[in-house]
């Protein structure tokens, strides 16, 4: 019997139809790239039993099990269920034992974050999992990534939504011994927002990017992190064939709840304005904004969003980047 496969459906089911006839690959989603090592054993078992024994660690922190015969798709989907359950991925009820419910909204990726990294300002994989829970399954093409600090190891500025951890440094002058470690640290590793006046530290609040370097350098806990966690939200970065661009700051000193709201609101915006001609209903959100205007985007994105007084919002955002599609 010849292979008879609904490839459109298979792709939405997180399968890749490979260049080799009859062979596909199964993509496993791991939000935040953080999982129980037991998952590795499960992935290994599928790869060895159904695939060619190899796995690709995807750029978005999933596993892609290679070399699976497409006729085994259904059986492999069954094998995926314990992985989906253990990782905690949302699934429509009718999709139990049938693999992933969608693939358009990509895995929410993250740098290693404050589970491990001394620079990180929050638990990136935890936030990635929270966002994944809020936005997945969905077939619209959204890329979201979380990074612990302004070093941006997760390259979040290449994403539709990039979340960069910040802290509002808290200074207790009575603990400061004027050693200058924070001033030197901010100067050499960050933006040079600190200076000493009268043996105490002055922070240029306009310059400070909330990286937290001063906090890690201070030997006496004169600098500590704010109890509240802050984030920078960068928007509409992307790679690609037309107009690759870096994401730009939309909100600075923002909070987690509002960021989640804005991402969800943007789904409504895309539903409304996505081009009817978009191939496989995939159109980069940035291009949609280019077409309909930033004001329209803002109107949708900020619905029911009440920003904290300290949050800075950039009311107009313009992107540059390379225009491969626009050569004269």
């Amino acid at each position: 019997m010849s292979l008879d496969i609904n490839t459109k459906k298979a792709k939405k089911n997180a399968w890749r139809i490979s260049k080799e006839r009859g062979i596909g690959a199964s993509r496993i989603r791991v939000p935040g790239g953080y999982c129980d090592a037991e998952i590795l054993g499960m992935v290994q078992q599928i790869a060895q039993e159904y695939g060619n024994g190899y796995v690709h660690l995807t750029t978005r922190q999933g596993f892609e099990i290679e070399g699976i015969h497409l006729e085994d798709m259904e059986e492999v989907n069954k094998k995926l269920q314990p992985i989906i359950d253990k990782v905690g991925i949302n699934q429509y009820d009718e999709d139990k034992e049938k693999g992933y419910s969608a693939s358009g909204t990509r895995n929410v990726s993250a740098c290693i974050g404050n589970n491990v990294c001394p620079f990180a300002n929050y638990n990136t994989s935890e936030l990635a999992r929270r966002i994944d829970k809020e936005i997945y399954p969905n077939d619209l093409h959204f890329k979201v990534a979380c990074t612990g600090c302004s070093n941006d190891c997760a390259k979040v500025r290449m994403h539709d939504f990039g979340i960069i951890g910040m802290t509002m440094p808290q200074y207790d002058p009575s603990r400061c011994i004027s050693c200058n470690a924070c001033v030197k640290g901010c100067q050499s590793l960050s933006v040079g927002a600190l200076r000493m006046e009268n043996y105490k530290i002055v922070r240029d609040t306009e310059k400070c990017i909330g990286c937290g370097v001063c906090v890690t350098k201070c030997p006496t806990r004169a600098w500590t992190r704010s109890q509240k966690k802050y984030y920078k939200l960068t928007i509409m970065g992307r790679t690609g064939k037309k107009n690759p661009r870096l994401g730009k700051d939309f909100l600075v000193w923002a909070d987690e709840d509002n960021i989640v709201k804005i991402i969800k609101n943007t789904y409504d915006f895309v539903e409304e304005y996505i081009s009817p001609n978009a191939p496989a209903r995939k159109e980069h959100i940035g291009y949609i904004i280019d077409r309909v205007g930033f004001e329209k985007f803002k109107e949708y994105a900020l619905k029911d969003v009440e920003l904290m007084p300290e949050t800075i919002i950039n009311n107009n955002v313009y992107w540059d980047g390379i225009h491969f599609d626009n050569k004269h």
Binding site: N114, A120, I177, S178, C179, N180, G212, T216, K217, P219
Partner: protein, 330 residues
């Protein structure tokens, strides 16, 4: 005299004590550690028993409750100076055995070192010490090696154990407060042995000064000063004269903790520094702790609390360095 109370009774007595005394004790400061979502245990004023962290050794010692990190010595105008008031209330400081031994070192430097420091003295006279026991050794401490694991130099001993609290009163000032408790033989918990054992070098000579160990450890050190700032026995300070910005004829003089590991410590007029090289700073610190002080006062400065090893971001283990030095000096 030893007494037993229920924890609730003890909490009430404590609340009363906190009215008569400013109580300083180790508390967990949520998220205030060096890294994100990491706590730090350090001293702060408390008003209830629950706030006190009895189990984990404080990351920063009790020292700041007795010897402020920043202390204004006087305010000046063009022709007058004003000395700020000292503490008006008596103070209770909760601390462990090694730390009580450290108080002796602080007293030595500030009260019995050819002069008496006015500021230290006026605070010190107001302080009473409450011993917290150590049922188990901490990670890096070596109090047993330094002979600081036990003490009887406390005013009170307080132990909370499940629903009960135990008190040993040594200072009559507190007899009235605790007299209603059930009499009980209360012996403080003292550690007999630590995981870390330290042998101090004997026969320190001029050659010891040029040991390669100081070069090796010095090259690893980043001069952050944490080892000194957490140490209960470091007493160095520097002076700062502040001229207020709005009116530079008015200001204040402060003394502020200093560290022999941090840049600027030996800097003099003209910009010369005497210990610019890290290995010199490392040698100086170690020698001060285990040799120089002892030469002058007849007993060791270091009390073996292990905080310097706990805190060093470069994993420099001072106790390991000493042990290696002892081997070299054999």
């Amino acid at each position: 005299m030893g007494y037993k109370f229920s924890k609730d009774e003890m909490a009430k007595i404590f609340a009363k004590l906190a009215q008569d005394y400013d109580v300083f004790a180790p508390v967990v400061k949520k998220g205030d550690g060096t890294f994100s979502d990491v706590d730090v245990v350090r001293y702060d004023q408390v008003t209830s028993l629950d706030e006190i962290e009895f189990n984990k050794k404080s990351d920063y010692s009790f020292k700041e409750a007795l010897l402020p990190i920043n202390e204004t010595l006087f305010y000046f105008t063009e022709d007058e100076t004003t000395v700020p008031k000292g503490p008006e209330k008596k103070r209770l400081i909760f601390l462990r055995s090694c730390d009580i031994h450290a108080v002796k070192r602080l007293d030595q430097i500030y009260l019995d070192n050819k002069f008496e420091d006015f500021y230290y003295k006026r605070t010190r006279e107001m302080v009473r010490f409450v011993l917290m026991g150590c049922p188990n050794t901490c990670e890096n401490g070596f109090c047993a090696s330094m002979g600081t694991n036990e003490t009887n130099q406390y005013d009170l001993y307080i132990k909370v154990n499940g629903d009960n609290a135990f008190v040993d009163v040594k200072n009559d000032e507190f007899t009235e407060t605790f007299k209603n408790g059930a009499l009980e033989d209360v012996k403080p918990d003292f550690v007999k042995e630590n995981k870390v054992k330290v042998t101090l070098p004997k026969n320190i000579t001029k050659e010891t000064m040029s040991s390669e160990l100081f070069k090796e450890y010095g090259s690893r050190c980043i001069n952050c000063g944490r080892c000194n700032f957490v140490c209960p026995t470091c007493t160095c300070f520097s002076m700062q004269d502040i001229f207020y910005k709005d009116n530079e004829k008015v200001g204040e003089r402060r003394r502020v903790w200093a560290s022999c590991q941090v840049d600027g410590y030996t800097e003099i007029a003209g910009g010369h520094g005497f210990r610019n090289d890290n290995s010199d700073r490392m040698r100086f610190k170690v020698m001060h702790k285990i040799h120089d002080f002892e030469q002058r006062f007849g007993y060791q400065m270091c009390v073996g609390c292990g905080r310097c090893d706990d805190v060093c971001p470069e994993y420099i283990s001072y106790s390991t360095l000493i042990n290696k030095l002892a081997k070299e000096c054999e």
